[in-house]
Symmetry: C2
């Protein structure tokens, strides 16, 4: 496994890999969610590149960037064990070169839901993913379903800009109790973590009802919401039931595949989760 810190070395080495290159962009602090992406890429592709880069431009809350968990040694160990070929772990100046000023904006899919709550977040995500895709030039790129809107932003970006990579979505990985894995979960104390379970529990309630035939968007939203008791330590930001492709909010009955998604502050930690309702 080669660990690369500069874009110039990456550019040179990249050309030595002639088969299908799979790419898993990450911000490090790898957990079982990332590991599922690495395994899928390893099984799909001739070569696998992982990037580990805590991208400053996608953080919108002061201080959040500083406390984001980092553990490069452990991340490299995981990548090594899983047969990753290249790890690209650049510092900021390798991704954003001197006088960098190019901004990417997706004013619809990037500015509703998560994008409305975190202005600039998806501009940051799109900007870094585009730069990384241009450096790594993968045939296939892997993202987790937990970041449902992110994958829709990236699919839109890839289609709009005619990028030559296939975007592959991998299922959300959950703890045995249902909590979606996230690098931010380490910030939860035991009480907060117990409260956080009500987010996934609500989604599962609605998903079960949907499987049993419930199609009313109002009742499905109410079911998802009913599991959550707003308390001092949990505050729902949004609960959305939207068309899975367009993310247009559904009124009346659900007729096409729908994404039920939620964002909430649990203490000072922002968590998101979602389930896909497949008709």
């Amino acid at each position: 496994m080669k660990v690369i810190a500069t874009s110039s070395v990456l550019r040179t080495i990249r050309d030595e890999y002639l088969g299908v290159m799979g790419f898993v962009p990450t911000m490090g602090a790898l957990h079982e969610g990332h590991i599922s992406l690495l395994k899928r890429a390893r099984s799909d592709c001739d070569h696998v590149t992982v990037s580990i880069f805590v991208n400053p431009t996608q953080f919108t809350k002061s201080g959040d960037l500083d406390i984001y968990p980092r553990d490069l040694d452990r991340d490299l160990e995981i990548c090594g064990e899983l047969g990753v070929d290249l790890v690209f772990a650049p510092d900021k100046t390798e991704v954003y070169t001197t006088n960098d000023e190019t901004l990417i904006r997706l004013p619809y899919v990037g500015e509703i839901l998560e994008g409305a709550s975190r202005p600039g977040h998806f501009a940051g995500v799109a900007g870094v993913v585009l730069r990384l895709l241009n450096m790594v030039r993968p045939e296939k790129t892997y993202f987790g379903a937990k970041d449902a809107q992110q994958i829709r932003v990236i699919r839109r970006l890839v289609q709009d800009l005619h990028l030559a990579t296939e975007v592959i979505e991998c299922p959300t990985v959950r703890a045995p109790d249902g909590l979606a894995l996230s690098s931010r979960n380490i910030f939860l104390d035991s009480n907060q973590r117990r409260q956080a379970l009500t987010l996934s529990a609500g989604l599962f309630n609605a998903s079960d009802a949907f499987a049993a035939g419930e199609r009313s968007s109002g009742r499905l939203r109410a079911l998802a919401r009913s599991a959550i008791r707003d308390q001092d330590i949990i505050a729902v930001d949004y609960l959305s039931l939207a068309d899975s492709t367009t993310l247009a909010e559904i009124t009346g009955d659900v007729k096409n595949d729908a994404l039920l998604s939620i964002a909430a502050m649990v203490g000072s930690t922002r968590l998101i989760d979602n389930v896909l309702l497949v008709v």
Copy 2:
């Protein structure tokens, strides 16, 4: 020579060209300026692709898009004679696919000078060039020096996004009387065309003085301006003497390579021109 109208065919055919691909993006209505780019690409590269696409997103004045000159038959004849391999002449829906929403912004170099006078123009230029570069995947891309700010926007875009193409600048081609060639020159009547010569004449005055040792930015600007008599049919938009790399406006003496550029309305036609002052 192959003429291609769709991005899917271009994608398939592109992979058949294994050597160095040169690319000349144009809006058609090819003149000697474009021809100089085609010849340079033909002499530099194994293969040459020309795009002919009047990009709607870079027009900022109502009606301007509709009257922009178009002559595809003649353009194809010129490309054929010059040994072009591929002509990509897509319609709008091939460049901007359904629900396209990705915007590219360069808030400094894209929003001063031309960008200040034509808000959104360079967002449109950057957006279309990025899409075309991703489709054509050229090793070398050719632009004319007449669009001085455009080439700086594209260099910035290519560097910021880590695109794998070399941006090559070719000298401005002028009519024997000094007027910089432009597809828009056909809109000038004979009186306007005579007036338009004062733009290049002013630039040459300043350039001659610079060659003779003049370094005062104030005097150089005044020399360029003095050739132009503002009249009903000519109105200067800006006259800029700026650092050639950063486009920061120069005060005091010129110490590094500088770009002297002008934009003016001649009747209802907007013309731009520039000279490089090399220390």
